[in-house]
């Protein structure tokens, strides 16, 4: 995907100014409430007309004020999964899905990977098909809305806070479906969220918005090395999201062993220990969240301590803010570790230094529902 954006939008006293280029298959737009995230999505979809500027998706000019071009919403093939689902209330779930399918067929789009039965299977919608929207739960509504958007066969899928308002358990159930959709369909996605963890489940390519302007864009680990982006990210609860594969369970120890999926460097891949999640089959992909402040640093391995995870790594970046020091440690996966200035000075932490990262098995919050390592193709 190549999405070029250079727009200005005024909504009352609020002003959004974005000039950027998105090339990653999935990009997360992150920012606090009122940062202009939804306005930006609406401008992409054509629901909001920018004051001026240009939006180009691959070879198609969607909007260009200087040439008076503004492709109408229904011709953009940019689908949106709205926060509240917005299903058609007079149709069943199946009716909603068929509605989008019919529009795609009418537009001559027949991508077999996005056929009705496949999407129903992918998102496990079979049992919901006969129900009307007001008989669907919040999570089910969003799954149907996601399926409907995919069946429209969009060139770009916009996700507007797709998990907002769901409780923790429901979010965990829905996230794997989003991931499946991303992997199995290959449709470029832009996801807006005020929850960094949600975004990092799908991508580490992040655009940071605050007060209507972009204050940083790129890989998360690059962003945390910059002053202003880091401040925003920390304010929102900076978190490590590790994509992992289950290796095995030791029920007698109460431990599940995992290994990272995306290994960054030549450092030997670590084996991570989490508290037992026997429901995850060995080989299954899952994720874990680890708070940067839950990781301790040591200059060597520590014996006779309850920290089950002791990973050897190397500090490749140190970022000092007013109050804390953030270390980026390469342990075979990239890990953000949050320590006090005092610790950093006391241990003489410098970039390049070999270091051990210690954390308890319970500090790894595992996603309870794994996805099969080969999505149903």
């Amino acid at each position: 995907m190549n999405l070029e954006l250079d727009i200005r939008v005024t909504r009352g006293a609020f002003r959004l100014e974005v000039a950027s280029r998105l090339t990653s298959a999935t990009t997360g737009i992150f920012g606090p409430s009122g940062a202009g995230k939804t306005t930006l999505l609406h401008a992409l979809a054509g629901l909001v007309r920018p004051d001026n500027g240009r939006i180009v998706l691959d070879d198609t000019v969607l909007f260009d004020s200087s040439r008076d071009v503004s492709v109408p919403v229904h011709k953009r093939h940019v689908a949106v999964v709205f926060q509240d689902g917005r299903l058609l209330p007079h149709l069943t779930a199946a009716g909603n899905l068929r509605y989008a399918e019919g529009l795609a067929l009418a537009a001559g789009l027949r991508e077999p990977t996005l056929a009705f039965d496949r999407i129903v299977q992918l998102l496990d919608l079979g049992s919901l098909l006969g129900r009307r929207p007001h008989h669907l739960s919040g999570g089910e509504t969003r799954r149907v809305a996601l399926g409907r958007a995919l069946l429209a066969q969009p060139r770009l899928l916009l996700l507007d806070e797709p998990l907002a308002g769901l409780d923790h358990a429901r979010k965990e159930q829905l996230l794997p479906f989003l991931r499946q959709a991303q992997l199995a369909t290959g449709i470029p996605m832009v996801m807006v969220s005020h929850d960094l963890g949600e975004i990092l489940h799908l991508t580490d390519q992040v655009m940071l918005l605050r007060d209507g302007r972009v204050i940083g864009q790129g890989n998360l680990f690059d962003l945390v090395q910059q002053h202003e982006p880091l401040a925003v990210l920390r304010g929102a609860g900076l978190i490590n999201v590790l994509r992992l594969r289950v290796r095995e369970h030791r029920e007698d120890w109460g431990i599940t062993f995992l290994e990272p999926l995306d290994q960054t460097t030549a450092v030997a891949p670590p084996v991570l220990k989490a508290s037992l999640h026997a429901n995850l089959a060995p080989g299954a992909e899952t994720w874990a969240m680890l708070r940067p402040e839950d990781v301790a640093l040591a200059l060597g391995p520590v014996e006779r301590i309850s920290m089950q995870n002791q990973l050897r790594g190397r500090i490749h970046k140190i970022v000092r803010t007013e109050s804390r020091t953030l270390c980026l440690v390469d342990v075979g996966a990239e890990l953000m570790v949050d320590v006090t200035h005092h610790t950093a000075d006391d241990m003489a932490l410098v970039e390049g230094k070999a270091i051990w990262c210690l954390f308890k098995a319970q500090a790894l919050t595992l996603g309870t529902s794994g996805t099969s390592s080969s999505p149903a193709n």
């Binding site: 919403v73 229904h74 007079h90 529009l103 007001h134």
Partner: protein, 229 residues
């Protein structure tokens, strides 16, 4: 009931159904237009549509007679070029009640369309639905209960139409003498009390039946849309 009374009943129903049929499409379009579009002269259009609601029906009837009567601008043209005479036929009764019922229909549709969540329409647009398709597959189905009640109001208003009809269409037995006109005619004649009462009962029954049918349809439509009905 005498054959003449049956005829009045049948004529009333025929005129009311024709009135609804004539009103349906323009009523929908005007209602949607008023609810969703801004255009120059909108206030004038609104005022024009609502005139029949606020002036005495006899005024509406007289204005219709002036325009569509055999000496009226349009009436004369119709007669000379098409050989078609409107005034004092059952079609005049249809036109009279349609004009009188129009504001009721348009208001109902406009309110129903205004209540349709535009964000639902937006979601259909992002899936690739053209504006016309959004109107047909989202807006109108979601506004169905209001549209239905508009049509019912028009039907009921037509059944009860008196002033504009008697002025523009007259009270010609078998042609324009609908139930209200027949009742009035009975009351005016000696010994007409019994037939008048019969027609009053029939009139009440027909109107009540129309209301019941519309309520059932509206409830079904609301239930389909997820309300409790």
């Amino acid at each position: 009931m005498t054959p003449a009374e049956w005829e009045a009943l049948w004529l009333s129903v025929k005129v009311a159904l024709a009135c609804v049929a004539v009103l349906a499409i323009p009523g929908l379009l005007l209602g949607w237009l008023l609810a969703r579009k801004q255009f120059i002269g909108k206030h004038v259009l609104v005022a024009l549509i609502h005139i029949p609601l606020v002036v005495p029906p006899v005024v509406t009837g007289y204005l219709l007679l002036l325009v569509f009567g055999s000496r009226g601008v349009i009436g004369q043209w119709l007669e000379s070029s098409l050989g078609f005479s409107l005034a004092f036929t059952w079609k005049a009764a249809v036109l009279a009640s349609a004009v009188v019922a129009m504001p009721l229909m348009v208001r109902s549709v406009a309110i129903a369309v205004e209540l349709v969540d535009r964000r639902i329409e937006d979601s259909a647009r992002t899936l690739g639905a053209s504006p016309l398709r959004v109107l047909a597959t989202v807006t109108l189905p979601l506004a169905a209960p209001g549209i239905l009640s508009g049509l019912t109001l028009a039907f009921a208003r037509s059944l009860g139409e008196f002033g504009a009809t008697i002025t523009f269409a007259g009270s010609i037995e078998g042609e324009t003498r609908t139930l209200p006109l027949a009742i009035y005619n009975c009351i005016q004649s000696v010994g007409g009390d019994a037939p008048a009462l019969r027609l009053v009962v029939v009139s009440v029954l027909v109107s009540a039946a129309a209301m019941v049918v519309s309520e059932i349809l509206a409830r079904r439509a609301r239930r389909r849309l997820g309300g409790t009905g």
